[in-house]
């Protein structure tokens, strides 16, 4: 049952740690590159990504002045990818962050404020989990209209119950520690114990989950924008670019490559970063899932 009993030879953990460090490094490099690309897009873009230049339409990658070529309207692909990175960053991180804040509050409350609070919060989370996120997003798009803000809202509604569950179970195990009993003996109020003792101890779980849902948020945002119920022009999303590319797919398949590759690389990078961080910050969970 215990990990020590099943670790066969002493040489192995070392090799494993090497692989884990590699995971973390690759994830970190990709994530930093992604954030840098999004940040640079605010100051510098090779071309205006929304202005069509019909004479330059459908140029291949490597053309002079156009690093990755142009789309069917002659808009620069690379500039669009840069602005798309900005959207992915904002929507993915925004959705995950809101869910993190609400989920942490709900999860800590469920863990600390007795059976009724726990049942109410946990069952509500269960119910929300069985509503497909894509469906929530469609309903929101139908009622308040699509756009960046709606997408962030839909993502946070979608991710909050998962955060709640994870934080709750992490907090429950912290609450059983001796130092919590000690704090209770000092008659510390529950909110104080939560803030001072539980929160720092679930911070690792929070960071790991944030990274993983950041990645999931980017995937979902791309899907929604592909469907036309997410981000709309003049904002640009990689999913939207894929939708536009598909209209041209018979003519120019490279158009469908770049945004898709960008999504895969960034999501893979964030997932690797999350897994790597989990090994460092949350060894108990890592042992269960690796």
């Amino acid at each position: 049952m215990s990990a020590a009993a099943t670790t066969p030879v002493p040489a192995r953990p070392k090799k494993r740690r090497g692989r884990r460090n590699l995971t973390l490094t690759i994830g970190l490099v990709v994530t930093i590159a992604f954030i840098a690309m999004a940040a640079v897009s605010f100051f510098y873009l090779p071309h205006n990504p929304n202005v069509p230049r019909i004479p330059d339409r459908l140029l291949p990658a490597g053309s002079p002045r156009y690093l990755l070529g142009t789309d069917a309207l002659g808009r620069d692909i690379f500039s669009q990818l840069m602005v798309g990175a900005r959207t992915s960053l904002m929507v993915g991180a925004g959705g995950a962050l809101i869910a993190l804040v609400i989920g942490t509050i709900a999860g800590l409350s469920a863990a600390a404020f007795g059976r009724i609070a726990d049942e109410t919060i946990s069952r509500s989370a269960d119910i929300m989990l069985s509503i497909p996120g894509m469906v929530t997003a469609l309903v929101l798009a139908a009622t308040i209209g699509s756009g960046t803000l709606t997408t962030i809202l839909a993502l946070s509604a979608f991710f909050t119950p998962s955060f709640t569950r994870v934080i709750r179970s992490a907090a429950l195990s912290v609450l059983q520690e001796d130092f919590i009993t000690a704090a209770r003996l000092y008659a510390r109020p529950t909110w104080f114990i939560l803030l001072r003792h539980v929160l720092p101890n679930v911070a690792g779980v929070m960071i790991v989950q944030f990274t993983l849902y950041f990645a999931a948020g980017i995937l979902t945002e791309a899907g929604l924008s592909y469907l036309g119920v997410g981000v709309t022009r003049p904002s640009i999303s990689w999913g939207m670019m894929l939708n536009e590319a598909q209209q041209q797919v018979g003519i120019s398949s490279p158009l469908a490559m770049w945004p898709g590759l960008s999504i895969v690389i960034v999501v893979l990078g964030l997932n690797l970063l999350g897994d790597g961080l989990r090994d460092v910050l949350d060894p108990k969970l890592a042992r269960r899932t690796s």
Binding site: D126, I127, P132, V139, Y226, A256, G260, V264, N271
Partner: protein, 315 residues
């Protein structure tokens, strides 16, 4: 066991009720006046009032809610504002595409994930095991619609083997319909399979480290025999849970894949109705999907009780 089933059933009913209230309030609350939403920005106040009266949208919200729920129970999903067609009729014809698509995707996903995950867990220290784990990690990062686009580029545009989209009815051309579903099912199954592989792998790894597997091995069984005789039944529990949770994901994937391959399924219908602001149609079909997902989760929960006697005794 009866107590366990009763508890799960009660929770299912509670969940359906809560979700219906949530969807109802979300649509009525967030959208404001439904009649105004349906008629669009340019509608006059009189037109809005007339429409509200005609569909009873001016009544108190609880009355409208129970009216809607009562009709749902009788299988009446309401009528489209624009075409006045009953939503139930629209839905039934769409389901003949969405259900086979969704279920085949799930089956293909499991057919990929169970062998791949098990093999990779049993060979976790060999290159092949690591390669499967890596492939699954990459597959998780691939958006399902990109997989669809690439497959249709390769097999539809480049090789011309399969249609890139469109639909022929089951009755008019059965094999044509099957051909239209091949690429969508492969896209869904591959991506679902990638993420399930990861869970199967960790479930099997976990089981193989348990004392009872060690005991079984001590009696002379090979690792494969131990896994098949005592391990798999235990690994099935976490896998069943994950499959239940993935149903919601799968439906999200189906929504997108129907668009990629222009299949006139249920989700395409919802999308078209979102665009046309057919609020009631969206509300009813969405509710239908939610009930379906909750039903699957109920079945998974009950299955859990069958698979693991401890579950039904302790809860």
């Amino acid at each position: 066991m009866p107590v366990y089933i009763a508890r799960k059933l009660a929770f299912f009913l509670l969940a359906v009720f809560a979700a219906s209230v949530l969807i109802f309030l979300l649509i009525r609350g967030a959208g404001g006046n439904v009649a105004a939403v349906i008629l669009g920005k340019d509608a006059t106040a009189e037109a809005i009032n007339a429409l509200s009266r005609q569909y009873g949208l001016d009544r108190p919200l609880p009355v409208q809610y129970f009216d809607w729920i009562g009709n749902l129970f009788r299988g009446d999903l309401g009528r489209s504002f624009r075409t006045n067609e009953p939503v139930t009729d629209l839905v039934v014809s769409r389901l003949s595409i969405s259900i086979p698509l969704c279920l085949s995707g799930l089956v293909l996903g499991l057919l990929i994930a169970i062998p791949a995950g098990t093999y990779s867990a049993l060979n976790s220290d060999k290159p092949v095991g690591a390669l499967i784990a890596l492939l699954s990690q990459v597959g998780i990062a691939v958006p399902v619609f990109w997989a669809g686009i690439l497959l249709s580029l390769l097999f539809g545009v480049r090789l011309g083997w399969l249609p890139t989209g469109g639909w022929t009815n089951w009755d008019s051309n059965f094999w044509g319909a099957v051909r239209s579903l091949v690429l969508p099912v492969i896209s869904l199954g591959l991506i679902l399979g990638a993420s399930l592989t990861r869970y199967v792998r960790s479930a099997v790894l976990d089981v193989m480290n348990q004392d009872y597997v060690r005991t079984a091995r001590a009696t002379g069984m090979t690792r494969m025999q131990a896994l098949l005789r005592v391990g798999l039944r235990n690994a099935a529990l976490p896998i069943a849970t994950v499959v239940g949770l993935q149903i919601a994901e799968l439906i999200g994937g189906t929504v997108i894949i129907e668009t990629v391959f222009s299949l006139p399924g249920l989700s395409r219908m919802i999308l078209a109705n979102v665009a046309a602001r057919e609020v009631i149609v969206v509300q009813s079909t969405v509710m239908l999907i939610i009930v379906f997902v909750m039903l699957v989760n109920l079945i998974v929960d009950l299955l859990y009780g069958v698979l693991d006697p401890r579950v039904r005794l302790t809860r």
